[in-house]
Point group: C2
Chain length 121, copies 2
């Protein structure tokens, strides 16, 4: 772990690969930090997954189940579940199984950490 | 163009596909906005391109030529030139040909626009 890595307790426990670095414009990213950051950005760089993050965040109570997400996205449930899994594995969404459904919410601070790396000012 | 799109004069002239939207946690992204945003994020979601953005930003005067970038990246000049072209086409870098070299700099506000879409607070 380079000295540029910042501790992000809520995120680091959920997502070892989560974006973690000082703003990239401040000092050159190490190869290791760039690889970790690229992995998280790849999880986000997909239209369906961007819309899922947005739908979950804007949903009542800040959480949503697959049953809330298939219709607005116009995708099948297995496809939506696949995209949700990618976002959970990237440390961007939490998954909480209650009864027959799993409920998804943003990992607090995860998108903001990602934004913080890209911010130049 | 949806009502969620925000004008970003410096960036929009350079990059029609540049991230352009209100924060994704504020309201659900449209399919069109999500596609545009994913295109820009895909340009960034690569370890070599993240390091290039970082090296250019941190370089003296905020600009660098390919000759400054090949050694720290450990990649060949054609490979570095390819990645720089992707970043220029995504509206994240400017390219200014002077003499035998082209000089690259961050498009002012472009990375910050991208960060702004991901920010939740």
């Amino acid at each position: 772990m380079s000295a540029a890595l910042q501790a992000a307790p809520a995120a680091s426990s959920a997502a070892p690969g989560l974006a973690c670095c000082a703003p990239l414009a401040r000092q050159p990213l190490s190869a290791e930090d760039a690889a970790a950051l690229a992995r998280t950005l790849k999880a986000v760089a997909d239209p369906a997954r961007l819309r899922l993050l947005s739908l979950v965040a804007a949903h009542e109570g800040g959480e949503a189940c697959v049953c809330d997400l298939t219709e607005p996205l116009g995708l099948s449930q297995p496809t939506v579940s696949h995209h949700l899994k990618v976002l959970v594995e990237a440390g961007l969404l939490t998954r909480d199984k209650r009864g027959v459904w799993a409920y998804y919410a943003l990992v607090p601070g995860a998108l903001d950490s990602l934004a913080g790396v890209l911010t130049t000012c």
